[in-house]
Symmetry: C2
Subunit: 208 residues, 2 copies
């Protein structure tokens, strides 16, 4: 099984590394990071550079496609080469997936028309403009599309997919290897549970 | 504030990227990935390469030191340059921290003598040999040392540290930005809750 994880300048690292750490541990699985051009791809915080060897043209029939989000996603919305690659690979993929604002790229490629999907909480109300039925769930599976809410939700999505692909025993084994028994010290991870002042702070920070 | 994250060949990516995504979002904070030599550092799964510009010699007084784990940690146990760097930076750091088996490197440097600390569940019973008092907690803070259990626990540790460093409001804002309201699809993330067969599977997989 081949998993292709798309990178672009300004990606959010945990969006992709969370699912990578899970899917990369499935049996007989190769993960390849892909980008439009080979070389270093720099993240949103500007302090992490991942070296990408494979271009979109090199990876044509991955079993799983995964697109993360991040501030750089906006620029990619008009990247016709990427959108065309998403449409093409989707024809043969077992799963086409996105984390956080990466789901807007699937939507821009026309892949989520009439589908239920999720994205980062701060962007959820813009989702309907793309013909998507927005869901507040953390992980949404509709057809062969899987989408995750913001950033860290990609871990939950990847474990859900792992169960569907390789069975509950394998998925649970990966969960135990990465000791994923989360204990956040606060309950501020969702707009429904965060204090109102924290929601306002987060919106302000994300607006730059 | 400067955060130095140590990389070495065979690191586990989520060990470092989880905390990076949190600490990198604190106000007025610079994160620098450091390694013994500049260039690409390849992870345990061999499919991810991070480009490192700063060497250990370049970063001498970080405020926070973070060492992740991974199979490559074993080889680093006899890397005297790294262990000496950990001892030296620890003299001036506000926090010296580790995730997963990275805590064995702090122990090998002599920094955890008589301290309570945690590590990946599969290695916890070897910890006492290093003069450490092993704890089954997910995040342990003792003095200016913070340690996290396996892989994904680094996210919880980094949020705990963020609260201690920047206050609850800032830590909660970061938690909401990364939408960290985890919903694992299984409860197999801890040896205490995973089915016995899953624990055996995980041990077998990790033994290679």
């Amino acid at each position: 099984m081949q998993v292709a994880i798309v990178l672009y300048p300004g990606f959010t690292s945990l969006d992709v590394i969370g699912p990578y750490e899970v899917l990369g541990r499935l049996p007989d699985t190769e993960v390849v990071f892909v980008a439009e051009r080979p070389g270093l791809v720099v993240n949103d915080l500007k302090s992490l550079s991942i070296d990408v060897v494979a271009t979109l043209a090199d990876v044509t029939t991955p079993d799983i496609v995964l697109v993360g989000g991040g501030p750089g996603q906006m620029e990619q919305m008009s990247n016709h080469a990427l959108l065309e690659w998403l449409r093409t690979t989707d024809r043969t993929s077992s799963w086409t997936t996105a984390v956080c604002s990466g789901s807007f790229l699937l939507a821009a490629a026309g892949l989520l028309d009439g589908r239920r999907a999720t994205t980062h909480w701060a962007a959820l109300d813009q989702f309907a403009q793309f013909g998507v039925t927005p869901s507040k769930e953390r992980v949404v599976v509709d057809g062969h599309y899987a989408t995750a809410a913001g950033v860290s939700a990609g871990i939950d999505m990847a474990l859900t997919l792992s169960g569907l692909i390789a069975g509950d025993d394998v998925a649970q084994t990966v969960q135990l290897i990465i000791e994923y028994a989360p204990e956040p010290p606060y309950s501020a991870g969702s707009v429904d549970t965060a204090p109102a002042a924290v929601v306002e702070n987060a919106k302000r920070v994300m607006a730059g």
